[in-house]
């Protein structure tokens, strides 16, 4: 197919060394009307410096309230191929591993029912199938689901959980991120597909405090692997690093945030009581140092983007939880949190915002978590605090 629209501005983005998304759209346009008109519409945006999409309407597949982002152009007459241009969010497998067979199958379905364009992956983690019309949603879903694929989350629902590669290819994974993510996803299928929350709820799971999935910034619940017990040291390997040119004093000792490492040129010592498990020394000397023996996760709550009162990062609500299937302790906690959020949350209020509004102490009390210093960077400043009936002498 030759290109339907002139795209002098977009063509500028075929130049340069980084792979070009314009080339991708043009490749799809070879066989897709959607892609042809997407080029035209996008060129118009580049020219006018304004989006040409309208607010999405409610579209989806039967029985689900989530998984499809409705999208309509505001210039449908000019670009009928993208008059509808809905996105289908397909729940990725944990860890983003694929066989080529599986990927090809998805591609074939999308060539047949959609634009032939994707995002691998969306920021939340889904396989984003980019652009189709309303009537294709059901058949596309039938083809996908019959081959074992399901939709991810959207709207006021559990959003598609995602995780770092973890135990599959990383020596630092303290928890089985892929298993946990899979089990959470399976456990909350209903909550993912049928939005019934005050707002969205995201899970992200990282195997350690390196947080390669950015869970602390982007998940209402961030599950981050950690350990108790002493960092394991292989002194021989430490020496190898030193001989290999690493300046252990500068790069390790002086960069340890808790000043708990010492190195006398032949032995590396760690005062584990003072270690806060930041992962710096381990990451820099992976052959020599390994996380301690007792594995589990720190559970953090609340992160989100800035709207409405400012960005939040998740903060500690459970310092240490064992993480073994069937993960009942986790699910039980999540259920208690949701119940509380459900009861008190306003429309479009994330759980972190609710806690900000009602107070962390109230949350801890209501959800039944014991206050611990690990939950705060520092205690309150101003001596204004509440007491309960039982604290008061009558």
């Amino acid at each position: 197919m030759s290109m339907k629209h002139q795209t002098p501005l977009l063509d500028e983005l075929e130049k340069g060394t980084f792979p070009s998304f314009v080339k991708e759209i043009k490749r799809a346009a070879e066989h897709s009307d959607y892609a042809q008109d997407l080029l035209g519409l996008l060129e118009l945006s580049y020219k006018e410096k304004v989006t040409h999409w309208k607010h999405g309407g409610i579209v989806g597949v039967r029985g689900y309230g989530a998984g499809v982002i409705g999208r309509y152009s505001d210039v449908p007459d000019q670009f009928p191929g993208v008059a509808h241009f809905h996105t289908v969010r397909v729940n990725q497998p944990s860890g983003f591993f694929y066989t080529t067979k599986a990927l090809r199958e998805i591609c074939d379905i999308w060539d047949k029912y959609g634009s032939g364009l994707t995002n691998m992956h969306g920021s939340t983690g889904d396989i984003i199938l980019l652009g189709t019309k309303t009537e294709n949603l059901e058949p596309a879903f039938a083809e996908l689901s019959s081959r074992g694929w399901d939709l991810g989350g959207s709207g006021s629902a559990v959003r598609t959980p995602s995780c770092c590669v973890g135990a599959a290819r990383c020596e630092w994974a303290n928890i089985d991120t892929m298993s946990i993510t899979h089990e959470i996803t399976q456990h909350y299928q209903d909550e993912m597909h049928r939005p019934a929350f005050p707002y969205k709820f995201k899970f992200k799971v990282a195997g350690c405090a390196v947080d390669c999935i950015a869970s602390i910034a982007r998940a209402d619940m961030s599950i981050i692997g950690t350990w108790r017990g002493d960092i394991q040291i292989d002194q021989g390997e430490v020496k190898n690093y030193a001989q290999g040119g690493m300046d252990i004093q500068k790069e390790i000792v002086e960069m340890c945030p808790t000043e708990c490492i010492s190195w006398d040129g032949s032995e590396l010592k760690i005062n584990n009581e003072d270690c806060n498990r930041c992962m710096h020394c381990i990451a820099k000397m992976t052959k020599a140092l390994r996380p301690g023996p007792e594995k589990g996760a720190t559970i953090l709550l609340g992160s989100k983007a800035p709207i409405v009162t400012g960005a939040l990062m998740s903060w500690v609500i459970v310092p240490f939880m064992k993480m073994e299937p069937p993960y009942d302790e986790l699910f039980d906690l999540v259920d208690r949190i949701w119940e509380w959020w459900d009861e008190h949350g306003k429309n479009r209020e994330r759980v972190g915002e609710l806690i900000e509004r009602l107070s962390f102490t109230r949350f801890l009390k209501d959800v039944g978590l014991d206050p611990q210093p690990a939950m705060v960077k520092e205690p309150r400043r101003d001596p204004f605090f509440f007491w309960s009936e039982e604290d008061v002498e009558k």
């Binding site: 501005l9 500028e12 983005l13 340069g16 060394t17 980084f18 792979p19 998304f21 991708e24 759209i25 490749r27 799809a28 892609a35 996008l42 580049y46 410096k49 989006t51 996105t87 497998p93 591993f97 694929y98 066989t99 599986a102 990927l103 090809r104 591609c107 999308w110 364009l117 995002n119 691998m120 992956h121 920021s123 059901e138 058949p139 039938a142 689901s145 694929w149 399901d150 599959a168 290819r169 990383c170 020596e171 996803t185 399976q186 405090a209 950015a214 602390i216 910034a217 790069e251 960069m255 992962m279 710096h280 820099k284 052959k287 800035p306 709207i307 409405v308 009162t309 960005a311 990062m313």
Partner: protein, 357 residues
């Protein structure tokens, strides 16, 4: 369309196990250490002695099925039909024997793939939909990623930096990327308030939730018009009202632009995770190649590269030298917009007599 297969619901994603290369399945949870072998390849070594080589290539994330199939061809030829994507949208090819690495890398190079992104360098840019798919976009995302990475490509493929520099792009302040905790991030911003289309408000918008959407309480009811009104001097153009009420469009081609925020991180290494902070409040939205924005990012990056200690993340460097020094060494202007006047402003004021000249 022919016969459709039987749809299923609530089955969730396929189990990941079926997608794991055999060497991974065997050594799952048994990895001992890894070594970085180059800007784009590394090896993981298992307790069992097994090894896994990974080669990483850049992806524009917006992929045609054709390109995905090309990628699959390579994985079929070299990796027994397995591959993965990273959390930053790169593609990873994995092999279980050293002899397979060179041929794999050769084919990838020959086919024009950009190998790199491992270790202390720039990896792929986490980003969002932009004009490709979102009604809310103040700028495009894919285009910005492209021009940034065209300029900074050498930091992906070869050059190293004091530490990783995580870039992100979000097309509006909803920030679907990881902008609020990135080393350097771009975000599409507005500079003018929404326009209220009173006749449409009635039908399209729920008044109470529209009012509640405003972070600064700038919106109040306008009973006369069965609509709302905005106290203009309170509006800081976040566009959240437009998210909730389509009858309040805020896009303004002349004044929409790009803000640069910097110094965020999510890892816990050394220092705690950090929010990004405002470096440049507004640059003009100049597709297709956004030269002003690209230049500003490069300037910040190079100043970091020159000034930071080994292993120091960008935000760690800035905090060590101080923000006043950051503005001095980068030559960026400090404006009224940099001074926080939002919810937690107080915590950003300099409650100390110490600062650098």
């Amino acid at each position: 369309m022919s016969e459709l297969p039987q749809r299923q619901t609530d089955i969730g994603p396929p189990h990941y196990e079926q997608f794991l290369p055999p060497v991974i399945k065997k050594n799952y949870g048994k990895w001992k250490y890894h070594e970085q072998l180059g800007p784009g390849h590394m090896v993981h070594v298992s307790e069992s002695g097994d090894k896994l080589w990974t080669v990483r290539v850049a992806s524009p994330r917006l992929l045609s099925t054709d390109t995905i199939k090309d990628i699959c061809d390579i994985a079929d030829a070299h990796c027994d039909g397995y591959l993965r994507f990273t959390t930053r949208h790169n593609v990873e090819f994995m092999v279980d024997d050293e002899s397979k690495v060179e041929p794999l890398m050769k084919e990838l190079k020959d086919k024009g793939f950009m190998i790199g992104g491992i270790g202390p360098r720039i990896s792929n840019v986490v980003h969002t939909q932009g004009w490709v798919h979102c009604h809310s976009a103040a700028t495009d995302a894919s285009g910005l990623v492209k021009v940034l990475m065209d300029d900074l490509g050498e930091y992906f493929t070869t050059k190293s930096l004091p530490n990783r520099v995580r870039l992100a792009v979000a097309c509006c302040v909803n920030m679907c990327g990881a902008v609020h905790c990135s080393d350097i991030a771009l975000v599409g911003v507005h500079k003018t308030p929404p326009r209220i289309e009173h006749d449409k408000v009635k039908n399209l918008c729920e008044i109470p939730s529209t009012i509640a959407s405003c972070p600064t309480s700038a919106i109040s009811p306008d009973p006369q018009n069965k609509s709302v009104k905005i106290k203009i001097e309170k509006c800081m153009y976040c566009g959240n009202c437009y998210s909730v009420c389509p009858a309040m469009p805020i896009a303004d081609p002349k004044n929409d632009g790009i803000a640069i925020v910097i110094g965020g991180k999510v890892s816990n290494l050394r220092s705690n995770p950090k929010f990004s902070k405002l470096a440049v409040p507004w640059l003009p939205n100049t597709p297709p190649r956004w030269t002003e924005t690209v230049a500003a990012v490069r300037k910040i990056l190079e100043t970091y590269e020159a000034g930071a200690k080994k292993h120091e993340r960008l935000g760690e460097w800035v905090e060590r030298i101080g923000w006043e020094k950051f503005f001095k060494v980068t030559g960026l202007e400090f404006t009224l917009q940099h001074v926080d006047d939002f919810t937690f402003a107080r915590e950003t004021w300099r409650m100390a007599a110490t600062f650098k000249w």
